[in-house]
Amino acid sequence: MTLASSVTASEQPITKGPVMEVREIFKRFPGVVACNNISLQFLPGEVHAVVGENGAGKSTLMKIMAGAYIADSGELILQGQTVSFSHPQEAQLKGVSIIYQEFNLLPERTVAQNIFLGREPGKYGALDYAELNRKAVKVLKEVEGDQMISPTAMCNTLSVAEQQIVEIAKAISFDSKVLIMDEPTASLTTIEVRLLTDLINKLKQRGMAIIFISHRLREVFDIAEKISVLKDGELMGTLLTKDTNPSEVVTLMVGRELDHYFPPLGSPEDFGEVVLRVKNGGNDFLKDINFELRKGEVLCVAGLQGSGRTELAQALFGVVPFKTGSIEVNGKIKNVKRPPDAIRQKMGFVTEDRKAEGILPKQPIRDNILLTVRTLQPLLGFIYKDGVRKTRTLVPDLAKQVDLRADTFDREAQFLSGGNQQKVVLSKWLSSDAKIFIFDEPTRGIDVEAKASIHDMIRGLTKQGIAVLMISSELPEVLGMSDRILVMRDGRIAGELPAKSSEQDIMLVATGHQVDQKTSGKNQAGKE
C-alpha cells in the first residue's frame, strides 16, 4: 500500500500534497509561549529539519504533533483531514510516530517487548510471544541486516549504541506516514550516524515524511531537503537546503552573526606553574594516564564516546579513583580516593549530567550555590541565609560574578533554563574557592547564547589563575576553547595536540587512524 502511494506520488509530483500540516499552533506554558502560531507543511518522501536553540519550541511542537502535548489552539491536518490527538496512542494509530531525545527503553524488559510496547500482537488481550519475537526479528533485520541484536536480550545488557538501534527499530516498526526524530544522533558515533542516514534514505523512498530535529547543523545539511528555523517559539523561516548555507541558518537561529562565539585563547604569559600532574594513572577503565595541567590554561580532553573522557574526570575527582599511579597537586603527591579529598585539594567538578549530578532540582538557587561551601563549615556551626560566616553575601556576589539571571534566589533550581542551571553549578564550586576546575561537557543541551556566556566565564576563570580541564564532544568547542588538547582513545591518552589544530587532526588521533592505515597496508600486501 505504501509502495503504491509512493509510486503515484512520484508520477505526479505537482499534485503531491502535504501528508501532515500544522496550522497556527499555539502553546503556552507557565511564563513562556513555547509555540506562537506556527504553521508548517510536511511532504511525503521529504526530510524536513527543524532547528533552533534550546527553548525555541521545537520539542514542544513535535510533542504536539505526536499527541504527547495538546495545543492551546491551532489545527493538525493529517492527509487533508483535521485531527486532534489526546494521547500518543491516537497519533500512532493515525500514522505519526516519534523517536525522543532521551532513551525510552525499559531496562528490565526484552528488546522485542520494548519495540512493541503498547502494540503487542495477540488476540483478546492475550500476548502472543512467538509472534512478538518474529515481528521483532523482522524489524531488527531491516535495521541491522543479519547480524542483529537478539530480540529476547534484556535491554539492560545492551550497549548505548545497541540501545539506539532498538530505538530506531521501534520507530520504524510503526510503519507510519510521519516519523519525527528528536535529536536522534545526540549520542551516536560517526558510524552509527551513517547507519541512521542510510535508514532515513530508505524510509524516504517509501514515501514517509521525516521530521528531523538536530543541533548538529552538518548532519542537518547532509540529510534534510528543507530546514525550518524556530526562535523563541516563532517560525523564522523555511529554507531549501540547496539554496542556503549553515551561517545563514545560524543567523536565523540566534538573530545575530556568530563572530564573537569564542573568547580569545590564552597567551603564554597567562600560563603559570604546573598545578596538577598525573603520573601513570590507571584503573579499570583507564591506562597509562600521564599529563600536566598549568595554572591559567584550558586543557581540553577530546575523544569519541566511550574513549574514557568522563572516566578521567571521575578519576581526578575521586568518584572512581585511580588504582595505580599518582596525582600531584602543586608539586606534592596527594591521595584522592573520594570527592571530599579532591574538594580539599581545591578541585571543582562540573558534571556532564547536570540534572542527576549537578543540581538539587527542588532546592532553591541559594541552597544549591551554598551546598559545597556549607560542607566545609564546622559540623555544628551556624549556616547563614546568603553565605557563610566570612562572607554573608556570598550568593548575590557569586550570582553577579557568573551573570546568573534570576528574579529571586528562592526559585527552585529546576525552573531555571539549562544555561542558568550551569551557572548555579559553577557558582557552587566558585564558592568553595576551587583552583582546578574540571568541566565535563559544560555546554551540552544549552542554547547558543548561554553557551557563549559559559565560554566567556570559563576563560574568565583562567584569567584569575584557575586551571581548567574541559571535556567536550563538540569539536568546534574544543578548537575554540583549548590552549592544549588531549585526545583519548580506549582509556588511554592517544595524543596531545596544540591549540588551533584542525578537526581532522583530532578525529585522526581519536579514531586511531594511523593504526588502520598500517593494517590496511598489510592486507593489500597480503593480497598482492
Binding site: Q89, Y100, L117
Partner: protein, 331 residues
Amino acid sequence: MTTTTASENWFKRMTKSNKVPPVYFFLVVIFLVTGILDQILSDGQMFTNPAIMLNIIVRSVALGIVAVGQTLVLIGASIDLSVAYTISITAVMSSYIMQGDPAKVPFALVGVVVIGIVIGLTNGLIITKLKVNPFIATLGVSLIIKGIINATFSNYTGSVPQTFEFFGYGTIGPIPVSILILLLIVTIGWFILARTKFGAHLYGVGGNSEVARLSGVRTDRVLIGAHVLCSVSAVLSGIFLVSLMRSGAPWVGPNGVYDLNSIATAVIGGTALSGGKGGVWGTLAGVLIFGVLATAFNQLGVNPYMKNILQGVIIVLAVASYTVRSKKEAL
C-alpha cells in the same frame, strides 16, 4: 548477546535466565536449616510428617492470595496499604450477608467482589487522576474502610453455611482445597503478568511511566486495572479467611498484618518497590518462607517475637542480596 559461557554452573544459569527466581534458593536453605534444627531440638516432624509440610502451605494461602495482587501493583510502581481492611470488610460483609444460609452465598460473593472493585477503583482513580502518592492514597482509603467497619461492626458478625467451609477445610483426595486455590490464583497472576498485554503494559508503567505513555500505553487505565485486581485479590483472601473462621470479625485483616506482609513477601520474592520488575512465582516463595518460619517456630516452641526478628532479618538480607547482585551485573 546473552550467551552463557560453559564455565557458569547450573545455578547461575537457572537464576540468570530468570526461569527460577533466586529466592527459591533461600526457601530451600531456610527449610533445610529449620528442619535440621527441628530434628535436633524437637520431634523432627518437619521432615517426616507430610501433614506438617501441607500445613506450611495451608497457613500461607490467605497471605499468598493477597500477595499476588500486591505484586501486581508493586510492579506498576504503586503500592496498596488498604488490603488489610479490604480483607476485614470482606470477611464481615460476606458472613453478615450469608447468615448461615447456603442460598445467600451467591449474593454475598457478588456483594463483596463489588466492594473490592469499588475499593480498587477508588485507589486507582485517586492515584492516577488526583495524582496523590500511592502510599498516602491507599493509607487514606485504608483508614476510611477501617472507620466504616468499626462504626458498623464490633465483633463476630453472621456466619457462613457449612458447605462454604469447603474452601477452608475441604480436600480433594489427599490435597487440601486451599492449596489448589492458592496455586490457581498464583497461576492466574502469572498468566496476567506474562501472557497478557495488560501485564506487558503494567511492567512498562512501573518501569518508566512516561516511556510507556509515549509508546502508546494507556498508563492510567493500566494502573487502575492493577489496583482493582489487587483489591479483588484481597477480597478473595477475605472470603477464604471467613470460610476458615466460620464467621467474620473486623480485626481479621489488621491482625494478620496482610498489608505489610504482602508487601514484604513480594519484595523478598524479587519484586522491586520501584516497579517494573518482579513476578508472582517469587512472591509465592516469599510467602512460603514466612510459612516455613511460622511452622518451624511452632514446632520448636520459640518465643513468637523471635519470629518477627527473623522475618525482619530475612527481608533485609533478601533485598540486600538483590541490590548487591544487580550492582555486580552493572559493573
